[in-house]
Amino acid sequence: MAAAAAAAAAAAAGSGPAREEEGPAGEAAAPQPQAPTSAPGARLSRLPLARVKALVKADPDVTLAGQEAIFILARAAELFVETIAKDAYCCAQQGKRKTLQRRDLDNAIEAVDEFAFLEGTLD
């Protein structure tokens, strides 16, 4: 047990800042703002769970969502942001620009099948 905890702590320690953003966001449902006890929590999710939960509740068909589900959705949203940013960047590179523009995003959405659900939603 101790070895696993130590390994987790080491992994989290290497992950850097992350924590600061959750303070200002402030919602109570976010994983404990005080970092001292266990480092492992730090890296798990940067998006405040309360906001994600608000989005989930916005769906009239959803009755309840478990804490784990909210957490995974938050993490998935982070992965999604990383993915779409990278894909959009490929478009910007082709234009030899160093600043991502809105049109890069539009191009990525058109080009990548998985982003088809976004069409028409960003305006």
């Binding site: 006890t37 405040p48 309840l64």
Partner: protein, 147 residues
């Protein structure tokens, strides 16, 4: 203020941080692009929620759980997310378990403290209780006599 669900945005600072860390150093992002990505993330969550809810309903459950969300990812063709999400879930479960044990431990320690404090009090209370019992017994005897 939110007229539509898509207007429920995730915090800009966090979104910006995630984007910057995903991109090489020196690459910037325009305000419009960042705000569009933030919106896209909200739409993503809504879409994923809807998909996940379908799986929950198929399973005749009213509560969305982690596996519903994972199934939704596959359905949405984001299979590449599934493995990292499973790992994150494992870590999250461990952390929750750790927290629970930590708080139970705290509670036990707290109880131990209050126990030793209460022992002094309870001695006095016991004396009081004994007196009460004696009184009751006397009353009972009286009742019996009446009967």
């Amino acid at each position: 203020m939110a007229e539509r669900p898509e207007d429920l945005n995730l915090p800009n600072a966090v979104i910006t941080r995630i984007i910057k860390e995903a991109l090489p150093e020196g690459v910037n992002i325009s305000k419009e692009a960042r705000s569009a990505i933030s919106r896209a993330a909200s739409v993503f969550v809504l879409y994923a929620t809807s998909c996940a809810n379908n799986f929950a309903m198929k399973g005749k459950r009213k509560t969305l759980n982690a596996s519903d969300v994972l199934s939704a990812m596959e359905e949405m063709e984001f299979q590449r997310f599934v493995t990292p999400l499973k790992e994150a879930l494992e870590a999250y479960r461990r952390e929750q378990k750790g927290k629970k044990e930590a708080s139970e431990q705290k509670k036990k320690d707290k109880d131990k403290k209050t126990d030793s404090e209460e022992q002094d009090k309870s001695r006095d209370e016991d004396n009081d209780e004994d007196e009460e019992r004696l009184e009751e017994e006397e009353q009972n005897e009286e009742e019996d006599v009446d009967n």
